[in-house]
Amino acid sequence: MSEQATIDLARFQELKLSFFTKLSGEKVLTFDIIDQSGAVVFEAGIAIDQNEVVAKSQQGCRFFMPKVVESYGHEIVSRPAIQKLADETREIYSSVRATGAMSYEQFLQSNAHLHSIIDGLRQEDRLGGCLGLLRDMEDFDYYTYAHSANLGVLAMVLAYKLGYDKTRMRNMALAGYLHDIGKLGVQREVLSKAGRLTSDEYNQLVEHTRMGYRILDNITGPGGQKMVSDVIKGTAIFHHRKYKNMGYPFRPARERNSETFYRALPEEIRMIAICDVYDAITTSTPYRTAEEPRTGLRKILNLSNHYFILDDVLSFIKTLACTLNKGKGVLDRGDFIVLESVRSSRDNPNQKEPLYEFARIMSTNSGRPIEPNVHIFFNASDNKKIRSIEVDMRHDYTRKIVRVITNERLTERLRRHALSA
């Protein structure tokens, strides 16, 4: 009732009819839709029907979606929702990762800085309460909600460990929480579909990036000014872009080079994109079992230079591996790995080209998840055996680990090579 009383039309965002008709179907609205007079046309909780939308618009209705969180002065109406979110974030995160010996709850509680960030998010109304959008997500699709909460925490921890200042840290946390908010615009059945998606359904899913941007861009303050910072909106729209193959939203024809584009993205977005894939791999859904943190981290490593920039991946692993994987590393003694370094091109000495070498891990160094002692035995770029050398990766500034071999057939082949080296 009190929300009705405080409705201020200037604060509502008009919805494009196309977006609105997309909402219809068997979906249940999670917010009221009002018309220009402020009357509720469609109530939250009902399933709207496309014919009704057309009929009402012919009667002269223009549709508005009330702000999901209505502010009244400095009082956030949905403060309990945000408070609940902050509390649940910790709970959910530790329950999703119940297998981990060191839970996020413990980690966060031991960290006053992160604690104050959470409190800040809870208390401040700086962003017009956009975190409250997550409340709608909770009712709409619980998996996406839990996933968003995970990313908020992961992003926050990462930002803290990367040494960001408080504002940047807060923005990165919010960017994590809200990266998938556009899924509110995707049909629930599509989000939870077990089998393969049809082409239409896939396109709908892809749209969650642009939809997220629109939702966040539409959040305005009392004076009509945009409230959500660019990095948060940028994360919503670009978190599925990839380094070597463009990902989505698909690149326009004029944008030739996806690598240049990707490199120009803010670090926050690139790191959240990594967290996103990591969380998907290590979270179970009704249709997929979760991978162990160790497997998740190894998969992330193997996506470097392809989905992600190698240096970002290494920084992700260096920063989070021990926390995520119960204090243990990612690589084990005996693992075969690929090392990347740079050399002058054979064809043109003025040009650089990557050099790849196969190596085997002799021993690991505690607290240094991606810097073991290795035994290099094969030059893969030139496909030739080399006189084997031993290298302590903590002190080698030219080589980086770019792959860990998990395929059995490959491992067997490398084992034979290593033995004869």
Partner: protein, 130 residues
């Protein structure tokens, strides 16, 4: 006759590969979208899949992983065609379970040998066909 499902979105290259394979008595079905790929793969139960790594707007590795994790397709051998000389991508193809990586430009004899190797033996014998 061994049945090969060719998943390739470049029509010209696909036509070229198809003609080489057909000249060597392979039965080739060509599809150009991932959606057709799944439909055909499940309907026709091919003996081998030949797939393009640089699929427009779709990550080749992702497509391979999806195909490999689909019931009924987990054991189908497959080879990847890579138009670029990129060590990591070839390695990734093998990591994801590919039986072979075929590099462009293609040596026809070598290509046919490799395809015969990955197809189940009784399928490529021709004379052994019941």
């Amino acid at each position: 006759m061994a049945r090969v499902l060719l998943i390739y979105d470049n029509e010209a290259v696909a036509g070229f590969l198809k003609s080489i394979l057909e000249a060597a008595a392979f039965d080739v079905t060509h599809v150009s979208t991932p959606f057709d790929a799944f439909r055909e793969a499940l309907q026709r139960a091919p003996d081998a899949i030949l797939i393009d790594f640089y699929y427009k707007n779709v990550d080749g590795l992702y497509l391979i992983e999806k195909l490999r994790s689909t019931a009924g397709l987990t054991d189908v051998p497959f080879a990847v065609v890579s138009e670029e000389r990129d060590f990591l991508l070839s390695l990734d193809a093998l990591e994801s379970g590919a039986n072979d990586v075929i590099r462009y430009p293609i040596n026809e004899d070598d290509f046919i040998d490799r395809m015969k190797k990955i197809c189940p033996a009784q399928r490529t014998g021709g004379a052994n066909e019941p």
